[in-house]
Amino acid sequence: MPFSDPTADGPAIARASQRAIQAGGGLDATLRAAKEIRAQSAAPIILFGYYNPILVRGEAKTVDDAAASGVDGLLVVDLPLDEGVELRTRAATHDMPIIPLVTPATLPSRLDQIRALDRKKIGFVYYVSVTGVTGAANANLNKAATAAAAVRAAVNAPVVIGFGVDGPEKARAAATGADGVVIGTAIVRRVENADSLDDGIAEVSSFLGEIRGALGPNG
């Protein structure tokens, strides 16, 4: 879900948001795309973005439309636990989780808060590998994997790791402590640098093939 002012994202995803908005993209277009994908694929769909487009469109309407479009969950970067009560409650009527984020700076008391929530409301926890924005080059995924494993035990929910996973090696390191790995910037960069749509699809497919290979049979 592109947003004009993505303050938790690095330059690659910020530029992608700008390109999408300039091309007429936004929350409506994202929901339409989700619906089209859902018609052809059973793969889970999680939408990621910022709160203002959801608030302006209406929280209830957005969640209802997302559910009707086959979306399985939402991740709203600038909507921390305390501010997300209404959205979570509405989403829960569709069994749609609002994925919480946990970072190296998150205090243990917040993990208790997450643990206390209905698992259906959170789905899984997104562990942010660095204090920083997306696309960080210096992410230490070995360290993140250790921390994520501890978070998984503390919240009693599956954990995925994201931020700074830019290739097979880092994906493998991250996977040692998590149930999944999130790759954003590395894909967005390949799309940005592609000469054509076909070229972009080929680039991303081959890149994801490498990642899957590194993660082994369950990748």
Binding site: T7, A8, P53, L55, V56, P100, A105, G132, V133
Partner: protein, 408 residues
């Protein structure tokens, strides 16, 4: 009717405010909230900060009566009997921003932070922060939109002289909004030992409350001074509103005085019916930008739109959450002045009072007749007005000279 952040709903002014930030910043905002309580509200901090305000900033700032200006606007004293200016332009560094910057950098020092960052639009907050950092020997980096770097060049040079590093932001509209995006990204990355010194009464809790608290000195002084000079309260207080820090500072001094009307003046840019304005409260809608819920300028899809004002300090598509609440409750009224009205007002104030106001400050100057006319509709007789002269216009010389040439 003041609406402080209540304990049951911390950081909210009615439905506005809150903390809409990435999870990485939540612990830092908790730490800051605790520090406001334990440090800012402590005797030691208050003594040091008040001492700086008196002996470094030059407070209390004077209250000047602007008789020639009042007569130029209203020759027969039908609408305006007396006009007073709260002279924040006489603060060290040239604007009210120093009150807040000194407070926050002193706080950063006491919190043990090693580095201070800030965003700036007109450059006044950047200069104030760079000044405070020079005084306290703290490394300082200032984010400023590339467009603002061009139009406020003197302030960029000043920041550099104070030893700050100015980072020109080339994203988006290349103005204050984008500078704030970059500052937030820096803070997310370096949150452990960096203090983010926000210049406006905006951003996530506790910033709107903290900044307002540090600017309330304007209203406290002005209230005592005007009672001393006139024996009573003014009929209205008028101030410019971008993010709204000088306005909230002077408003808070008069919040409980129900007879005093509060007027905020936003930037109407090239006109409210154009797309080029920054009148967030007048033309915006409820949304979330830079960490708090308030009014914002955005399209139907929730994408933030670019603001425009001749004044860099008002060129922002958001506004502090307390102003949103004051608007909804009706305690304050928000109007707007165009670029041309502000430029003409700057010239008039200079020629009648020998005071060159900042272009931000020129907006309320442009609306004095409108305010007095509105007040007259409710209660007959000429009125006493108090205007927050929030900054001086030295930084705007180039824009003012160009406008003069265009008129000539």
């Amino acid at each position: 009717m003041q609406a402080p952040a209540s304990s049951s709903n911390p950081g909210y002014f009615g439905p506005y405010g809150g903390r809409f930030v990435a999870e990485t910043l939540v612990a830092a905002l908790d730490e800051l909230t605790a520090a406001v309580d334990s440090i800012v509200h402590g005797k030691e901090f208050q003594k040091e900060w008040r001492d700086l305000l008196a002996n470094y900033v030059g407070r209390p700032t004077p209250l000047s009566e602007a008789t020639r200006l009042a007569r130029a606007i209203d020759p027969e004293s039908k609408l305006i009997s007396r006009l007073f200016l709260k002279r924040e332009d006489l603060c060290h560094t040239g604007a009210h921003k120093i009150n807040n910057a000194l407070g926050q950098v002193l706080l950063a020092k006491k919190m043990g932070k090693k580095r201070v960052i800030a965003e700036t639009g007109a450059g006044q907050h950047g200069v104030a922060t760079a000044t405070a950092c020079a005084l306290f020997d703290v490394p300082c980096e200032i984010y400023m939109g590339a467009e603002d770097v061009l139009r406020q060049a003197p302030n960029v040079e000043r920041m550099a002289l104070f030893g700050a590093r100015v980072i020109a932001v080339t994203d988006g509209s290349r103005t204050l909004k984008d500078a704030m995006n970059s500052a937030i990204r820096d803070w997310v990355t370096n949150v452990k030992d960096t203090y983010y010194c926000i210049g406006s009464a905006a951003g996530p809790h506790p910033y709107p409350s903290l900044v307002a608290e540090l600017q309330t000195v304007i209203g406290e002084e002005a209230r005592a001074q005007i009672i001393d000079r006139t024996g009573g309260l003014p009929d209205a207080v008028v101030a410019c509103v971008g993010g709204g820090s000088n306005a909230i500072g002077i408003f808070r001094g008069f919040m409980k005085d129900e007879s005093v009307a509060l007027y905020g003046v936003e930037a109407a840019g090239e006109g409210l019916n154009s797309t080029r304005h920054a009148a967030t409260l007048t033309k915006g809608r409820v949304g979330v930008l830079h960490g708090s819920k308030s009014y914002v300028l955005c399209d139907d899809g929730g994408q933030i739109t670019e603001a425009h004002s001749v004044s860099a300090g008002l060129d922002y598509p958001g506004v502090g959450p307390e102003h949103a609440w004051l608007k909804d409750t009706g305690r304050a009224r928000y109007i707007s002045a165009t670029d041309q009205e502000a430029l003409a007002a700057a010239q008039l104030v200079a020629q009648t009072e020998g005071i060159l106001p900042a272009l931000e400050t020129s907006h309320p100057f442009a609306k004095l007749t409108d305010v007095a006319t509105e007040l007259a509709a409710k209660k007959a007789g000429p009125k006493t007005l108090l205007l927050c002269c929030s900054g001086r216009g030295d930084k705007d010389l180039e824009t003012l000279m160009r406008a003069r040439e265009e008129r000539a």
